[in-house]
Symmetry: C2
Subunit: 233 residues, 2 copies
DNA sequence: CAGATTTTTATGTATATACTTATAATTCAA
DNA sequence: TTGAATTATAAGTATATACATAAAAATCTG
């Protein structure tokens, strides 16, 4: 307590992790309860709680009240990935960032977008197509639909200075988002905009963000060939 | 306190989140310190700490000792994505899972793999190519290299019953991983294995996992056209 | 005045205690 | 015997307190 010898929650977490990895506690096994572990490790129950909670959050343990704590059967490890703000991403690589607005108009969206945006038939949305360049070369282009109802300032915003991507991040809070990652084959349009060959495989991110009341925006980012999204555990 | 009216850390978190979203506390602003907030919310500092820590973990606040807590300038939202175990993913969709081992041999890896796996020149690794099928149709194929030094049982494992993917998840603990997501263009080999056309865009995951001492395995998963990886915030 | 030292301060963590809550297990009742 | 009520239990949370630690700010020094 006063001496200096104590178990931090990290120590406890490391030891529990070691036991899981060493298969001393196997997937599906119940592990001792918090009270028992706190005695074993010579620390407070709160400390054990912190350690186990952390491991549960990262998917290695399953915990339920009264039932107890068990080693996760399907150790679904979770990776966290940052949502890129394109300018930061490019500038972070030491390249210069520039963007061009290719299209900006109010438009009735196609049905797929309308479903995503949950708007009534016939309602016009802001349609925005932007090309982002790194060192002058096409990097990614965004085909974006914005619900002006959810974003009051959008009509008057100067989207040539700051891209919609950045403008929205700074000006419009969102509560939730929905991402999907996939690949597509470059057609004539993509080939022209991204200055690549038709038929090349392109990395695509589809993203919708919303707040309590509205779907704010829905965007498809199509990256030039060679793009990689990276993350670690 | 005893009555029933109290502020849980969730309540505090929700209110802080509201203020951030309402721009009462703008990106870059310092927010009141834990002691002040605990007075304002009528709760213990530990409760405020829990709330703020949580928000910091999800990227909305930046905290530093002594400096204080500020609203993140670049609200890099973090999405967590589950690392797919292919069989679960397919069966989760209600499809039947099957896999075929296309190649399994000890082999000296090409230099790119060798660099990734951090092995000495000339050292042989286990090379394994597996096709995973959903309802009998090609879903993804894995081109995998395994360091037998890190995985003692691998030589004798029956990888026709359980795929290497699943066998490794169950039998080999790992401490860290490295993921990258990208797109490629189907060449003759991919077209043949995945039964798609040459020139189609394919989604690719490159993954390495390691423990303290070794890089365990490095795999490239190439998905059939149409695959989407999905996540929410 | 630059550079080293000390002080101050906000977050970070540990602990004992107490109470809450979900839920498994048990008992009771129809 | 089934279904409802009760009990016991393990995690979940709140709190007061104390000390640790990083780092900004202030002070001291040559």
């Amino acid at each position: 307590m006063s001496g200096g010898e104590f178990n931090s929650w990290q120590t406890v977490q490391a030891e529990v992790l070691r036991r899981i990895n060493a298969r001393e506690w196997k997937p599906g096994d119940f592990i001792p309860n918090e009270a028992e572990l706190s005695v074993e490790f010579g620390c407070a129950r709160a400390t054990v709680n912190r350690a186990l909670r952390n491991l549960a959050e990262s998917g290695l343990l399953d915990r339920r009240r009264k039932a107890g704590t068990r080693v996760a059967l399907h150790p679904v490890r979770k990776a966290t990935l940052d949502i890129p703000v394109i300018r930061y991403e490019i500038e972070g690589k030491g390249q210069t960032y520039r963007h061009i607005v290719l299209l900006r108009q109010r438009e009735v969206p196609p049905s797929g977008i309308r479903a995503r945006m949950q708007t009534e038939p016939g309602v016009k949305l802001v349609h925005l197509v932007t090309l982002h360049l790194a060192d002058g070369k096409p990097y990614v282009f965004g085909d974006r639909w914005i619900n002006p109802e959810a974003v009051p300032g959008i009509e008057s915003a100067d989207l040539t200075a700051k891209s919609a991507n950045e403008w929205l991040v700074v000006n419009v809070p969102f509560e939730g988002g929905d991402f999907s990652f996939s690949a597509m084959t470059a057609g004539p349009r993509e080939a022209e905009i991204l200055a690549c060959k038709e038929g090349e495989g392109l990395f695509v991110i589809d993203r919708s963000t919303w707040n309590q009341t509205h779907v704010i925006t829905s965007v498809r980012l199509t990256f030039a060939p060679g793009y990689r999204m990276h993350t670690e555990i």
